[in-house]
Symmetry: C2
Amino acid sequence: MSEVRPTRAEARLLQIERIKSTSRRLMAEKGAPGLSLREVAREMGVVSSALYRYFPTRDDLLTALIVDAYNDLGDFAERAASRVPRDDPRRQLQAAASAIRKWAKSNPHEYALLYGSPVPGYEAPLFTVEPAARVALVLSSIITEAWRHSNAEGRRDDIGETLRGVLVTRTLDGVMPGVPEPVRALSLMLWSQIFGCISFELFGHYKGTVRNANRFFAIVVDETANLVLPPDGGPTRGT
Amino acid sequence: MSEVRPTRAEARLLQIERIKSTSRRLMAEKGAPGLSLREVAREMGVVSSALYRYFPTRDDLLTALIVDAYNDLGDFAERAASRVPRDDPRRQLQAAASAIRKWAKSNPHEYALLYGSPVPGYEAPLFTVEPAARVALVLSSIITEAWRHSNAEGRRDDIGETLRGVLVTRTLDGVMPGVPEPVRALSLMLWSQIFGCISFELFGHYKGTVRNANRFFAIVVDETANLVLPPDGGPTRGT
DNA sequence: GAAATTAGAGAGCAGTGCTCTTGCAATTTC
DNA sequence: GAAATTGCAAGAGCACTGCTCTCTAATTTC
Protein backbone atom coordinates (compact mmCIF):
# COMPACT_ATOMS: atom_id res chain seq x y z
CA MET A 1 0.00 0.00 0.00
CA SER A 2 2.52 2.48 1.08
CA GLU A 3 4.62 1.05 -1.70
CA VAL A 4 2.64 2.19 -4.69
CA ARG A 5 2.67 5.84 -3.73
CA PRO A 6 5.84 7.13 -2.18
CA THR A 7 5.68 8.55 1.29
CA ARG A 8 6.37 12.19 1.76
CA ALA A 9 9.95 11.70 2.91
CA GLU A 10 10.66 9.50 -0.09
CA ALA A 11 9.07 11.99 -2.43
CA ARG A 12 11.23 14.67 -0.95
CA LEU A 13 14.45 12.78 -1.59
CA LEU A 14 13.26 11.96 -5.06
CA GLN A 15 12.50 15.58 -5.79
CA ILE A 16 15.92 16.64 -4.51
CA GLU A 17 17.47 14.13 -6.83
CA ARG A 18 15.40 15.41 -9.71
CA ILE A 19 16.45 19.00 -9.02
CA LYS A 20 20.10 18.04 -8.92
CA SER A 21 20.01 16.00 -12.09
CA THR A 22 18.15 18.73 -13.96
CA SER A 23 20.71 21.22 -12.71
CA ARG A 24 23.54 18.97 -13.83
CA ARG A 25 22.02 18.71 -17.26
CA LEU A 26 21.59 22.45 -17.60
CA MET A 27 25.03 23.08 -16.16
CA ALA A 28 26.55 20.78 -18.77
CA GLU A 29 25.10 23.05 -21.43
CA LYS A 30 25.64 26.50 -20.02
CA GLY A 31 28.09 26.16 -17.17
CA ALA A 32 27.72 26.63 -13.45
CA PRO A 33 27.65 30.44 -13.28
CA GLY A 34 24.82 30.46 -15.78
CA LEU A 35 22.77 27.95 -13.85
CA SER A 36 19.41 29.53 -13.15
CA LEU A 37 16.97 28.30 -10.55
CA ARG A 38 14.11 29.57 -12.61
CA GLU A 39 15.25 27.61 -15.61
CA VAL A 40 15.62 24.46 -13.54
CA ALA A 41 12.09 24.96 -12.26
CA ARG A 42 10.76 25.68 -15.73
CA GLU A 43 12.45 22.55 -17.00
CA MET A 44 10.81 20.53 -14.25
CA GLY A 45 7.40 22.00 -14.92
CA VAL A 46 7.25 23.62 -11.55
CA VAL A 47 7.17 27.16 -10.30
CA SER A 48 10.51 28.63 -9.22
CA SER A 49 9.57 29.35 -5.62
CA ALA A 50 8.88 25.65 -5.11
CA LEU A 51 12.60 24.89 -5.34
CA TYR A 52 13.24 26.92 -2.23
CA ARG A 53 11.54 24.19 -0.22
CA TYR A 54 14.53 21.99 -1.03
CA PHE A 55 17.43 24.39 -1.36
CA PRO A 56 17.12 27.57 0.66
CA THR A 57 19.44 29.39 -1.71
CA ARG A 58 21.17 28.98 -5.02
CA ASP A 59 24.48 28.54 -3.27
CA ASP A 60 23.12 25.59 -1.35
CA LEU A 61 22.19 23.90 -4.59
CA LEU A 62 25.64 24.58 -5.97
CA THR A 63 27.20 23.17 -2.81
CA ALA A 64 25.21 19.97 -3.19
CA LEU A 65 26.37 19.68 -6.79
CA ILE A 66 29.97 20.28 -5.71
CA VAL A 67 29.85 17.55 -3.08
CA ASP A 68 28.35 15.09 -5.55
CA ALA A 69 30.95 15.98 -8.15
CA TYR A 70 33.86 15.50 -5.74
CA ASN A 71 32.52 12.11 -4.77
CA ASP A 72 31.91 11.12 -8.36
CA LEU A 73 35.43 12.11 -9.37
CA GLY A 74 36.91 10.42 -6.32
CA ASP A 75 35.10 7.17 -7.09
CA PHE A 76 36.14 7.31 -10.69
CA ALA A 77 39.83 7.83 -9.94
CA GLU A 78 39.80 5.24 -7.19
CA ARG A 79 38.30 2.59 -9.42
CA ALA A 80 40.81 3.33 -12.16
CA ALA A 81 43.72 2.96 -9.77
CA SER A 82 42.35 -0.24 -8.30
CA ARG A 83 42.37 -1.91 -11.68
CA VAL A 84 46.17 -1.75 -11.72
CA PRO A 85 48.31 -4.24 -9.77
CA ARG A 86 49.32 -2.88 -6.40
CA ASP A 87 52.97 -3.57 -6.96
CA ASP A 88 53.15 -1.05 -9.77
CA PRO A 89 52.60 2.34 -8.17
CA ARG A 90 53.88 4.19 -11.19
CA ARG A 91 51.18 2.71 -13.37
CA GLN A 92 48.67 3.26 -10.60
CA LEU A 93 49.50 6.94 -10.56
CA GLN A 94 49.21 7.04 -14.31
CA ALA A 95 45.83 5.34 -14.15
CA ALA A 96 44.47 7.62 -11.44
CA ALA A 97 45.79 10.76 -13.10
CA SER A 98 44.45 9.94 -16.51
CA ALA A 99 41.12 8.98 -14.99
CA ILE A 100 40.94 12.40 -13.38
CA ARG A 101 41.76 13.98 -16.69
CA LYS A 102 39.17 11.89 -18.48
CA TRP A 103 36.52 12.84 -15.97
CA ALA A 104 37.47 16.49 -16.32
CA LYS A 105 37.14 16.37 -20.07
CA SER A 106 33.74 14.73 -19.95
CA ASN A 107 32.46 17.01 -17.20
CA PRO A 108 34.25 20.26 -17.95
CA HIS A 109 31.80 22.56 -16.21
CA GLU A 110 31.72 20.49 -13.07
CA TYR A 111 35.51 20.33 -13.12
CA ALA A 112 35.61 24.10 -13.41
CA LEU A 113 33.21 24.32 -10.50
CA LEU A 114 35.57 22.23 -8.37
CA TYR A 115 38.97 23.47 -9.47
CA GLY A 116 38.35 26.71 -11.30
CA SER A 117 37.90 30.12 -9.79
CA PRO A 118 35.92 29.96 -6.60
CA VAL A 119 32.66 31.84 -6.79
CA PRO A 120 33.35 35.15 -5.08
CA GLY A 121 31.46 35.54 -1.88
CA TYR A 122 30.92 31.83 -1.79
CA GLU A 123 32.70 30.27 1.14
CA ALA A 124 32.92 26.51 0.78
CA PRO A 125 31.11 24.93 3.73
CA LEU A 126 33.14 22.63 5.93
CA PHE A 127 31.43 19.48 4.78
CA THR A 128 32.79 19.97 1.27
CA VAL A 129 36.29 19.51 2.61
CA GLU A 130 36.04 15.79 3.14
CA PRO A 131 34.82 14.85 -0.35
CA ALA A 132 37.41 17.22 -1.78
CA ALA A 133 40.12 15.50 0.20
CA ARG A 134 38.98 12.13 -1.08
CA VAL A 135 40.25 12.98 -4.53
CA ALA A 136 43.68 13.95 -3.28
CA LEU A 137 43.66 10.88 -1.09
CA VAL A 138 43.56 8.63 -4.12
CA LEU A 139 46.96 9.91 -5.17
CA SER A 140 48.51 10.10 -1.75
CA SER A 141 47.49 6.58 -0.79
CA ILE A 142 49.15 5.17 -3.89
CA ILE A 143 52.34 6.90 -2.85
CA THR A 144 51.97 5.80 0.74
CA GLU A 145 51.39 2.21 -0.27
CA ALA A 146 54.47 2.30 -2.47
CA TRP A 147 56.62 3.48 0.43
CA ARG A 148 55.13 0.98 2.81
CA HIS A 149 56.31 -1.90 0.65
CA SER A 150 59.73 -0.49 0.09
CA ASN A 151 62.89 -0.60 2.09
CA ALA A 152 64.22 2.56 0.60
CA GLU A 153 65.27 5.26 2.98
CA GLY A 154 65.99 8.90 2.71
CA ARG A 155 66.15 9.29 -0.99
CA ARG A 156 66.24 12.90 -2.01
CA ASP A 157 67.99 13.91 1.14
CA ASP A 158 69.28 16.97 -0.61
CA ILE A 159 66.00 18.75 -0.22
CA GLY A 160 65.14 17.12 3.04
CA GLU A 161 66.20 20.02 5.16
CA THR A 162 64.55 22.80 3.25
CA LEU A 163 61.31 20.87 3.12
CA ARG A 164 61.06 20.25 6.80
CA GLY A 165 58.32 22.27 8.38
CA VAL A 166 56.62 23.28 5.20
CA LEU A 167 53.63 21.05 5.76
CA VAL A 168 50.93 20.96 8.32
CA THR A 169 52.21 17.70 9.61
CA ARG A 170 49.30 16.89 11.85
CA THR A 171 47.05 16.53 8.87
CA LEU A 172 49.39 14.60 6.64
CA ASP A 173 50.91 12.48 9.39
CA GLY A 174 47.76 10.45 9.57
CA VAL A 175 47.18 10.38 5.85
CA MET A 176 50.65 9.39 4.70
CA PRO A 177 52.26 7.34 7.45
CA GLY A 178 55.71 6.00 6.73
CA VAL A 179 56.36 8.44 3.93
CA PRO A 180 59.40 10.68 4.43
CA GLU A 181 58.39 14.24 5.09
CA PRO A 182 60.06 15.68 1.99
CA VAL A 183 58.21 13.17 -0.14
CA ARG A 184 54.95 14.30 1.39
CA ALA A 185 55.66 17.81 0.24
CA LEU A 186 56.60 16.53 -3.19
CA SER A 187 53.30 14.67 -3.26
CA LEU A 188 51.50 17.96 -2.93
CA MET A 189 53.60 19.09 -5.83
CA LEU A 190 52.52 16.08 -7.87
CA TRP A 191 48.95 16.85 -6.96
CA SER A 192 49.13 20.47 -8.12
CA GLN A 193 51.06 19.48 -11.22
CA ILE A 194 48.37 17.07 -12.35
CA PHE A 195 45.52 19.46 -11.74
CA GLY A 196 47.50 22.37 -13.11
CA CYS A 197 48.00 20.54 -16.40
CA ILE A 198 44.39 19.48 -16.63
CA SER A 199 43.17 22.99 -15.88
CA PHE A 200 45.49 24.54 -18.44
CA GLU A 201 44.39 22.06 -21.08
CA LEU A 202 40.71 22.45 -20.27
CA PHE A 203 40.80 26.22 -19.97
CA GLY A 204 42.52 26.58 -23.30
CA HIS A 205 45.98 27.73 -22.30
CA TYR A 206 47.76 25.03 -24.27
CA LYS A 207 46.11 26.09 -27.50
CA GLY A 208 48.83 26.55 -30.04
CA THR A 209 51.60 24.84 -28.14
CA VAL A 210 50.75 21.30 -27.09
CA ARG A 211 49.97 19.11 -30.04
CA ASN A 212 49.50 15.69 -28.49
CA ALA A 213 47.89 16.42 -25.16
CA ASN A 214 47.55 12.77 -24.23
CA ARG A 215 51.24 12.08 -24.51
CA PHE A 216 52.22 15.34 -22.94
CA PHE A 217 50.08 14.59 -19.92
CA ALA A 218 51.44 11.07 -19.58
CA ILE A 219 54.98 12.41 -19.65
CA VAL A 220 54.25 15.06 -17.08
CA VAL A 221 52.78 12.52 -14.70
CA ASP A 222 55.68 10.18 -15.23
CA GLU A 223 58.25 12.90 -14.67
CA THR A 224 56.61 14.10 -11.50
CA ALA A 225 56.14 10.55 -10.26
CA ASN A 226 59.92 10.26 -10.08
CA LEU A 227 59.87 12.74 -7.25
CA VAL A 228 57.54 10.82 -5.00
CA LEU A 229 58.06 7.12 -5.63
CA PRO A 230 60.64 5.17 -3.68
CA PRO A 231 63.86 4.33 -5.57
CA ASP A 232 63.07 0.70 -6.25
CA GLY A 233 59.41 0.74 -5.55
CA GLY A 234 58.38 -1.02 -8.70
CA PRO A 235 59.12 -1.78 -12.32
CA THR A 236 61.34 0.69 -14.10
CA ARG A 237 59.59 3.54 -15.76
CA GLY A 238 57.95 2.47 -18.94
CA THR A 239 57.03 4.16 -22.20
CA MET B 1 43.23 76.62 -26.38
CA SER B 2 42.66 73.07 -27.35
CA GLU B 3 44.85 72.24 -24.38
CA VAL B 4 42.65 73.38 -21.53
CA ARG B 5 39.62 71.40 -22.61
CA PRO B 6 40.26 67.95 -24.00
CA THR B 7 39.19 67.25 -27.51
CA ARG B 8 36.46 64.70 -28.10
CA ALA B 9 38.88 61.91 -28.90
CA GLU B 10 40.88 62.60 -25.76
CA ALA B 11 37.77 62.74 -23.65
CA ARG B 12 36.72 59.42 -25.07
CA LEU B 13 39.99 57.73 -24.13
CA LEU B 14 39.80 59.31 -20.73
CA GLN B 15 36.29 58.02 -20.19
CA ILE B 16 37.30 54.53 -21.31
CA GLU B 17 40.11 54.65 -18.78
CA ARG B 18 37.73 55.79 -16.07
CA ILE B 19 35.32 52.97 -16.84
CA LYS B 20 38.10 50.41 -16.68
CA SER B 21 39.56 51.69 -13.44
CA THR B 22 36.14 51.83 -11.80
CA SER B 23 35.50 48.29 -12.99
CA ARG B 24 38.83 47.15 -11.62
CA ARG B 25 38.02 48.67 -8.27
CA LEU B 26 34.62 47.02 -8.12
CA MET B 27 36.03 43.75 -9.36
CA ALA B 28 38.60 43.81 -6.58
CA GLU B 29 35.74 43.90 -4.10
CA LYS B 30 33.23 41.52 -5.62
CA GLY B 31 35.05 39.56 -8.29
CA ALA B 32 34.70 39.48 -12.03
CA PRO B 33 31.48 37.48 -12.33
CA GLY B 34 29.75 39.93 -10.04
CA LEU B 35 30.87 42.93 -12.00
CA SER B 36 27.79 44.88 -12.95
CA LEU B 37 27.67 47.51 -15.64
CA ARG B 38 24.92 49.29 -13.79
CA GLU B 39 27.01 49.50 -10.66
CA VAL B 40 29.97 50.83 -12.59
CA ALA B 41 27.74 53.48 -14.08
CA ARG B 42 26.20 54.31 -10.72
CA GLU B 43 29.66 54.62 -9.24
CA MET B 44 30.67 57.00 -12.00
CA GLY B 45 27.54 59.10 -11.57
CA VAL B 46 26.32 58.24 -15.01
CA VAL B 47 23.38 56.36 -16.40
CA SER B 48 24.02 52.73 -17.36
CA SER B 49 23.15 53.02 -21.01
CA ALA B 50 25.91 55.58 -21.40
CA LEU B 51 28.55 52.89 -20.97
CA TYR B 52 27.40 51.16 -24.14
CA ARG B 53 28.91 53.98 -26.12
CA TYR B 54 32.32 52.72 -25.04
CA PHE B 55 31.84 48.98 -24.62
CA PRO B 56 29.14 47.47 -26.79
CA THR B 57 28.69 44.63 -24.35
CA ARG B 58 29.74 43.46 -20.92
CA ASP B 59 32.01 40.87 -22.48
CA ASP B 60 33.89 43.56 -24.34
CA LEU B 61 34.59 45.36 -21.10
CA LEU B 62 35.79 42.11 -19.56
CA THR B 63 38.01 41.48 -22.54
CA ALA B 64 39.61 44.88 -22.16
CA LEU B 65 40.25 44.18 -18.49
CA ILE B 66 41.75 40.80 -19.36
CA VAL B 67 44.15 42.28 -21.88
CA ASP B 68 45.25 44.95 -19.43
CA ALA B 69 45.73 42.37 -16.69
CA TYR B 70 47.86 40.11 -18.89
CA ASN B 71 50.06 43.03 -19.82
CA ASP B 72 50.33 44.20 -16.26
CA LEU B 73 51.32 40.75 -15.06
CA GLY B 74 53.73 40.31 -17.94
CA ASP B 75 55.44 43.60 -17.17
CA PHE B 76 55.65 42.80 -13.52
CA ALA B 77 57.24 39.39 -14.06
CA GLU B 78 59.58 40.71 -16.69
CA ARG B 79 60.86 43.50 -14.49
CA ALA B 80 61.41 41.09 -11.62
CA ALA B 81 63.45 38.76 -13.80
CA SER B 82 65.49 41.59 -15.24
CA ARG B 83 66.69 42.60 -11.79
CA VAL B 84 68.59 39.32 -11.54
CA PRO B 85 71.96 38.81 -13.26
CA ARG B 86 71.59 37.11 -16.60
CA ASP B 87 74.11 34.44 -15.80
CA ASP B 88 71.92 33.02 -13.05
CA PRO B 89 68.85 31.61 -14.81
CA ARG B 90 67.80 29.61 -11.76
CA ARG B 91 67.43 32.77 -9.72
CA GLN B 92 65.81 34.48 -12.67
CA LEU B 93 63.18 31.78 -12.79
CA GLN B 94 62.67 32.11 -9.06
CA ALA B 95 62.28 35.86 -9.37
CA ALA B 96 59.82 35.66 -12.24
CA ALA B 97 57.79 32.92 -10.60
CA SER B 98 57.52 34.61 -7.28
CA ALA B 99 56.64 37.87 -8.97
CA ILE B 100 53.78 36.11 -10.72
CA ARG B 101 52.67 34.69 -7.41
CA LYS B 102 52.91 38.07 -5.72
CA TRP B 103 50.86 39.67 -8.44
CA ALA B 104 48.29 36.91 -8.15
CA LYS B 105 47.96 37.39 -4.43
CA SER B 106 47.50 41.14 -4.70
CA ASN B 107 45.09 40.88 -7.61
CA PRO B 108 43.27 37.63 -6.86
CA HIS B 109 40.14 38.38 -8.84
CA GLU B 110 42.03 39.47 -11.88
CA TYR B 111 44.22 36.38 -11.60
CA ALA B 112 41.08 34.26 -11.44
CA LEU B 113 39.79 36.04 -14.51
CA LEU B 114 42.95 35.12 -16.41
CA TYR B 115 43.69 31.63 -15.14
CA GLY B 116 40.50 30.46 -13.45
CA SER B 117 37.48 28.95 -15.12
CA PRO B 118 36.77 30.62 -18.41
CA VAL B 119 33.42 32.38 -18.47
CA PRO B 120 31.11 29.95 -20.26
CA GLY B 121 29.95 31.22 -23.59
CA TYR B 122 32.79 33.67 -23.60
CA GLU B 123 35.23 32.91 -26.37
CA ALA B 124 38.50 34.75 -25.85
CA PRO B 125 39.05 37.00 -28.86
CA LEU B 126 42.23 36.46 -30.86
CA PHE B 127 43.89 39.65 -29.71
CA THR B 128 43.99 38.34 -26.14
CA VAL B 129 46.34 35.59 -27.22
CA GLU B 130 49.35 37.81 -27.63
CA PRO B 131 49.28 39.47 -24.18
CA ALA B 132 48.58 36.05 -22.68
CA ALA B 133 51.62 34.64 -24.42
CA ARG B 134 53.75 37.47 -23.09
CA VAL B 135 53.50 36.06 -19.59
CA ALA B 136 54.62 32.61 -20.66
CA LEU B 137 57.31 34.22 -22.75
CA VAL B 138 58.97 35.62 -19.64
CA LEU B 139 59.65 32.11 -18.42
CA SER B 140 60.56 30.59 -21.75
CA SER B 141 63.00 33.32 -22.62
CA ILE B 142 64.89 32.80 -19.38
CA ILE B 143 65.23 29.14 -20.27
CA THR B 144 66.18 29.93 -23.84
CA GLU B 145 68.82 32.39 -22.76
CA ALA B 146 70.26 29.84 -20.37
CA TRP B 147 70.63 27.30 -23.15
CA ARG B 148 72.08 29.83 -25.54
CA HIS B 149 74.98 30.50 -23.21
CA SER B 150 75.60 26.87 -22.45
CA ASN B 151 77.54 24.22 -24.26
CA ALA B 152 75.50 21.42 -22.78
CA GLU B 153 73.97 18.99 -25.18
CA GLY B 154 71.32 16.40 -25.03
CA ARG B 155 70.82 16.19 -21.32
CA ARG B 156 67.77 14.20 -20.44
CA ASP B 157 68.07 12.08 -23.52
CA ASP B 158 66.08 9.40 -21.79
CA ILE B 159 62.85 11.18 -22.43
CA GLY B 160 63.96 12.67 -25.68
CA GLU B 161 62.24 10.11 -27.81
CA THR B 162 58.90 10.08 -26.09
CA LEU B 163 58.75 13.84 -26.12
CA ARG B 164 59.36 14.26 -29.79
CA GLY B 165 56.27 15.37 -31.63
CA VAL B 166 54.30 16.39 -28.60
CA LEU B 167 54.58 20.09 -29.26
CA VAL B 168 53.38 22.32 -32.00
CA THR B 169 56.91 22.95 -33.09
CA ARG B 170 56.13 25.76 -35.49
CA THR B 171 55.04 27.98 -32.64
CA LEU B 172 57.79 27.15 -30.20
CA ASP B 173 60.56 26.92 -32.78
CA GLY B 174 60.59 30.65 -33.08
CA VAL B 175 60.10 31.29 -29.39
CA MET B 176 62.73 28.96 -28.00
CA PRO B 177 65.51 28.63 -30.59
CA GLY B 178 68.42 26.48 -29.59
CA VAL B 179 66.55 24.71 -26.84
CA PRO B 180 66.33 20.92 -27.22
CA GLU B 181 62.82 19.82 -28.08
CA PRO B 182 62.33 17.75 -24.92
CA VAL B 183 63.29 20.73 -22.83
CA ARG B 184 60.69 22.81 -24.60
CA ALA B 185 58.06 20.33 -23.54
CA LEU B 186 59.41 20.36 -20.00
CA SER B 187 59.19 24.14 -20.07
CA LEU B 188 55.49 23.86 -20.63
CA MET B 189 55.47 21.59 -17.63
CA LEU B 190 57.28 24.19 -15.57
CA TRP B 191 54.77 26.74 -16.74
CA SER B 192 51.76 24.68 -15.70
CA GLN B 193 53.42 23.70 -12.46
CA ILE B 194 53.92 27.31 -11.42
CA PHE B 195 50.42 28.38 -12.29
CA GLY B 196 48.95 25.19 -10.90
CA CYS B 197 50.54 25.89 -7.54
CA ILE B 198 49.46 29.50 -7.49
CA SER B 199 45.92 28.59 -8.44
CA PHE B 200 45.71 25.89 -5.79
CA GLU B 201 47.02 28.27 -3.15
CA LEU B 202 44.76 31.11 -4.20
CA PHE B 203 41.68 29.00 -4.64
CA GLY B 204 42.08 27.48 -1.21
CA HIS B 205 43.03 23.91 -2.03
CA TYR B 206 46.14 23.95 0.15
CA LYS B 207 44.14 24.88 3.22
CA GLY B 208 45.07 22.42 5.93
CA THR B 209 48.12 20.95 4.25
CA VAL B 210 50.70 23.55 3.29
CA ARG B 211 51.93 25.50 6.26
CA ASN B 212 54.65 27.70 4.82
CA ALA B 213 53.38 28.53 1.36
CA ASN B 214 56.33 30.76 0.52
CA ARG B 215 58.87 28.05 1.05
CA PHE B 216 56.74 25.40 -0.55
CA PHE B 217 56.43 27.49 -3.67
CA ALA B 218 60.14 28.23 -3.80
CA ILE B 219 60.92 24.55 -3.54
CA VAL B 220 58.46 23.62 -6.24
CA VAL B 221 59.96 26.15 -8.61
CA ASP B 222 63.46 25.01 -7.83
CA GLU B 223 62.60 21.36 -8.32
CA THR B 224 60.92 21.98 -11.63
CA ALA B 225 63.73 24.24 -12.76
CA ASN B 226 66.02 21.23 -12.69
CA LEU B 227 64.09 19.81 -15.61
CA VAL B 228 64.61 22.73 -17.93
CA LEU B 229 67.95 24.32 -17.15
CA PRO B 230 71.12 23.15 -18.86
CA PRO B 231 73.43 21.00 -16.71
CA ASP B 232 76.00 23.68 -16.00
CA GLY B 233 74.02 26.70 -16.91
CA GLY B 234 74.67 28.60 -13.77
CA PRO B 235 75.54 28.53 -10.10
CA THR B 236 74.54 25.40 -8.28
CA ARG B 237 71.10 25.37 -6.79
CA GLY B 238 70.96 27.39 -3.67
CA THR B 239 68.82 27.36 -0.56
C1' DG C 1 -11.60 13.44 12.73
C1' DA C 2 -9.15 17.82 14.21
C1' DA C 3 -4.64 19.97 14.21
C1' DA C 4 -0.27 20.64 12.55
C1' DT C 5 2.97 20.30 8.98
C1' DT C 6 4.42 20.55 4.17
C1' DA C 7 4.35 21.26 -1.06
C1' DG C 8 3.37 24.08 -4.67
C1' DA C 9 1.25 28.34 -6.93
C1' DG C 10 1.37 33.10 -7.77
C1' DA C 11 2.36 37.84 -7.06
C1' DG C 12 5.87 40.98 -6.15
C1' DC C 13 10.61 43.35 -5.16
C1' DA C 14 15.07 44.72 -6.43
C1' DG C 15 18.51 43.71 -9.27
C1' DT C 16 20.72 42.48 -14.00
C1' DG C 17 22.23 43.17 -19.44
C1' DC C 18 20.73 45.42 -23.20
C1' DT C 19 17.81 48.32 -26.70
C1' DC C 20 15.61 52.30 -28.33
C1' DT C 21 14.13 56.91 -28.51
C1' DT C 22 14.81 61.68 -27.30
C1' DG C 23 17.19 66.01 -26.55
C1' DC C 24 21.34 68.47 -26.28
C1' DA C 25 26.04 69.79 -27.25
C1' DA C 26 30.19 69.69 -29.84
C1' DT C 27 32.31 69.21 -34.05
C1' DT C 28 32.58 69.32 -39.37
C1' DT C 29 31.17 70.99 -43.44
C1' DC C 30 30.09 74.50 -46.55
C1' DG D 1 29.49 82.15 -39.40
C1' DA D 2 25.34 79.22 -40.34
C1' DA D 3 23.96 74.51 -41.24
C1' DA D 4 24.37 69.76 -41.15
C1' DT D 5 26.32 66.01 -38.94
C1' DT D 6 27.94 63.40 -35.41
C1' DG D 7 28.69 61.89 -30.39
C1' DC D 8 27.02 61.71 -25.86
C1' DA D 9 24.07 61.00 -21.96
C1' DA D 10 19.45 60.41 -20.20
C1' DG D 11 15.39 57.76 -19.48
C1' DA D 12 11.95 54.42 -20.34
C1' DG D 13 11.28 49.73 -21.16
C1' DC D 14 11.96 44.45 -22.04
C1' DA D 15 13.12 40.02 -20.49
C1' DC D 16 15.60 37.93 -17.22
C1' DT D 17 17.58 36.78 -12.45
C1' DG D 18 17.45 35.31 -6.99
C1' DC D 19 14.52 35.54 -3.39
C1' DT D 20 10.33 36.56 -0.15
C1' DC D 21 5.69 36.40 1.07
C1' DT D 22 1.02 34.88 1.16
C1' DC D 23 -2.36 31.68 0.09
C1' DT D 24 -4.47 27.09 -0.91
C1' DA D 25 -4.50 22.21 -0.97
C1' DA D 26 -2.74 18.01 0.39
C1' DT D 27 -0.70 14.94 3.72
C1' DT D 28 0.89 13.43 8.15
C1' DT D 29 0.34 13.40 13.15
C1' DC D 30 -2.18 12.85 17.20
